[in-house]
């Protein structure tokens, strides 16, 4: 179990600030070691004051801290109770002391790793796939989309046989521009460039702002797709520590920009980061936009998930703080609207003209057919209803999957349940190899994404990314149980790894 940075250390003289965190840490350790089990009642405020000789304010702060962090639940007139899932939270802040090792910008060597994993996955007969980032097809509005598509074909069959503008269908661009107001972006429909998913936008953005050999900062861990893109473009990836709660470490990025004054760009997912699920607080977002601007670092914002952020959080885009055109906004509808329509879009800031040229040179236009159908559906109230239903479904699926992991995985497993999205990032105990878990699981038809795919370093080799994008079912319960047993077996040395 990790050495808690919050454990009480009464020998040191501490500020009141630190005191409540030490108190919280003390109880966190008790929760993590199961001394305080899920469902149990926490000592009252009065008890805490007496037992630890702290003020009312410190006792309250400690309880609220644990509540905010998801370890406790406040029940009116009953006090605080221990919650199940969060008993295994991930380290909240990235450990900056490990930074020097991370700070050597690497040419991504990810392809070998990732393609190895993917090839193994292809070879196997998979009965339960927990490796993807998309949600189950039935969680999307299949029927309404089908009808919109058929309407489009009936009304305008000639879109099949006509050339179209490479910037995209006007109605679709208008819907996108209008919807972006909700995340703070004001733009004209003409600024929207339609792309083949967010991934094409990221590719074009990187090509617009950097060249082969250049260094690009990314989150750590980060989506392996981004590392593959950097590798394919011959760019170096500089991994910046990223917190499962607040996203990229601004402090670490600042340090990095001092060490590497020539970082050409930063690519990140501010809302529901993949794989961590973190949502950056608005203050961090504002700081980040300013920092990148100040250091001449282009900011490439990957916004694939903001539609899955719950209404209680801010899904504001980094782009909304951009005053100088330094932010390239890239978005996708794959996760929120339909994984099979391959629709994405971007707004290029001061690189707009260059990006339009690159889009034209690379893939010309997107099919107009799907853009019109998507615009039709997205302009209706049905789209908002769909998003609400999807968020509700995912909230339940995250909770049930996390609960199953908590019940079936051995002590020492850590997990953070994010506020949105379909991904859980699981830290295995004792630096267990996720590759070994991946391989053993695959033999039983269960596919997961091992942590080693999410970094060029080996820092996340003992992590797993598990999808909760499918409605929870006995089959998933069984799969998680088997995964837990595989982890137990590996820990006990009962499985020989090839």
């Amino acid at each position: 179990m990790r050495k808690s940075p919050l454990s009480l250390s009464p020998s040191q003289s501490v500020t009141p600030q630190l005191l409540y965190r030490q108190l919280a840490g003390h109880y966190l350790a008790a929760i993590q070691s199961n001394t305080l089990a899920p469902g149990e009642r926490m000592p009252s405020v009065r008890d805490l004051m007496q037992q630890h000789q702290v003020s009312l304010s410190t006792a309250l702060q400690a309880l609220r801290y644990l509540e905010q962090d998801g370890w406790l639940e406040a029940r009116p007139r009953s006090g605080y109770f221990v919650l199940p899932a969060r008993r295994m939270a991930l380290a909240e802040e990235p450990n900056l002391s490990t930074m020097p090792a991370l700070m050597s910008a690497q040419y991504a060597g990810i392809h070998e790793r990732v393609s190895g994993v993917i090839a193994q996955g292809h070879g196997a007969s998979v009965t339960l796939d927990l490796s993807g980032a998309s949600c189950a097809p039935e969680l999307y509005a299949v029927e309404a989309l089908k009808n919109a598509a058929i309407r489009t074909l009936r009304k305008q069959p000639q879109v099949l046989t006509s050339m179209m503008s490479h910037r995209g269908n006007p109605a679709f661009r208008q819907v996108l521009a209008k919807r972006s107001l909700a995340i703070g972006i004001k733009m004209a429909p003409e600024e929207v460039i339609v792309t083949h998913g967010c991934i094409e936008g990221i590719n074009l953005a990187l090509r617009a702002v950097a060249q082969a050999g250049d260094t690009v900062a990314v989150e750590s861990p980060t989506y392996y797709g981004l590392l593959q893109v950097l590798e394919s473009l011959g760019m170096r990836a500089l991994e910046i520590p990223t917190s499962p709660r607040t996203g990229i470490s601004i402090e670490a990025l600042q340090l990095a920009s001092q060490t590497y004054p020539d970082i050409k760009a930063l690519v990140l997912v501010p809302n529901l980061q993949n794989p961590l699920g973190s949502i950056m607080p608005d203050e961090h977002k504002a700081q980040l936009v300013a920092l990148c601007q100040e250091h001449g670092m282009a900011l490439i914002e990957d916004d694939s998930y903001s539609g899955l952020v719950p209404e209680t959080s801010s899904a504001r885009a980094l782009k909304s703080w951009d005053r100088s055109g330094n932010v390239i906004y890239c978005a996708s509808l794959n996760k929120v609207l339909a994984p099979g329509m391959r629709l994405g879009w971007m707004a290029g800031g001061r690189w707009q003209a260059r990006l339009e040229m690159l889009k034209f040179a690379h893939t010309r236009a997107n099919e107009e057919w799907s853009q019109i159908a998507a615009a039709d559906f997205m302009a209706s109230a049905a789209y908002e209803r769909h998003l609400r239903r999807l968020r509700d479904a995912l909230r339940l699926q995250r909770a049930r999957t996390a609960d199953a992991i908590a019940r079936h995985f051995p002590v020492g497993t850590r997990i953070n349940v994010p506020d949105g999205g379909a991904l859980l990032w699981v830290e295995l105990p004792a630096q267990l190899s996720s590759k070994a878990v991946f391989e053993s699981a695959l033999k039983e038809g269960i596919k997961i994404a091992p942590g080693l795919m999410f970094s060029n370093s080996n820092r996340f080799n003992h992590f797993l990314r598990l999808s909760c994008g499918q409605p929870f079912s006995p089959r998933i319960e069984y799969g998680i149980k088997r995964l837990g047993e595989i982890v137990e077996d590996l820990l006990a040395g009962r499985v020989r790894v090839a």
Copy 2:
């Protein structure tokens, strides 16, 4: 008028081989100067023998040469008659003596040129667009495609909301592999990588075989889209003279590969080259594949038009001669099946694994929807019927457009009517600026593609590419007439160019 390389030069001692060509050249000059007008009967074989003191064999060879070249038509039992369109043929062979100037590999600077032209085009209100390379929407099987698409949506609506393999839909890949047998390619469906049009294939192929700074050989003139791709990738374009009849000059390429031993790749369109419309003879194709292999030059074959090659010509793919995996085959369905479906595909030879990775990293999968609909239609007999109808329509449109140009453009205009496709390449007299023609025409709502877009050099500044992709109509007749008048006015200095 160009100095004919075939004019009789009796002072020189000549081989019988050359004699018939000199005789043909003599009559070609007479045809070009209108001494022999379209519809007139040529001197008989007997007359030729007597007047020029040549053998029966030489006289016959000369007549057949002119016939094959499209200047004459043989009518049974009546003799040979002068044809209208070809009276203005382009220079048949590229002039190798101009090569040294062409032989300096340039970083494509095409973007400025092309985007200037495109921006002007966007600003104008266009009533007659002769600038594109696609055919009119109504020349495609809109109704059948619409029905196939609706069938797909009804049967498999979940393709809209499901992730798919990034290599493409199996049924579509099978249809493509099967149809390629007709152009001599034997491949497994698994070798097919589905792309967003041919242009994505070309981009990926170039990235697989070369890097920024590398030299890539291209045809001259060539499709401006290719020059833009090279520019966007930071590669140098080396333009190789290309004949309107037989395509790229093998001799020139051989010379080039001696001067530049480090040419990384050659990109070309062997069947119905854009803008020339040339179809490489099979012997040339075989030689070219061998030459590239020998010089370690990757051969990237752009096959966007082979479905438009008439049944009387060979549309065999370069790839069919490839024994070492040195040919990357890239194809498109935009021109033959449907311009709005954005479907292309490729087969990567020895770069297959790298190309699959690049495709995945850049745009993931294509939409499955359109692939299934396309496979449905292409597997039916209706597709072959559509292709025959399209070829017939284009044959008529080429002939009528060429005829209109012959009637309305001033003497000294040259044109070559290709055996297929929807493009005419027109050489203006007296090195007239096609940019000036473009600008004057645009003021009247007529859009054309000026020759300067098709090369980094200024060699084709006095050429126009005119589309005959739309059914010929009085509107087109009028447009061509106006273009002819604009050219006349510019020649006479009656228009001041800005």
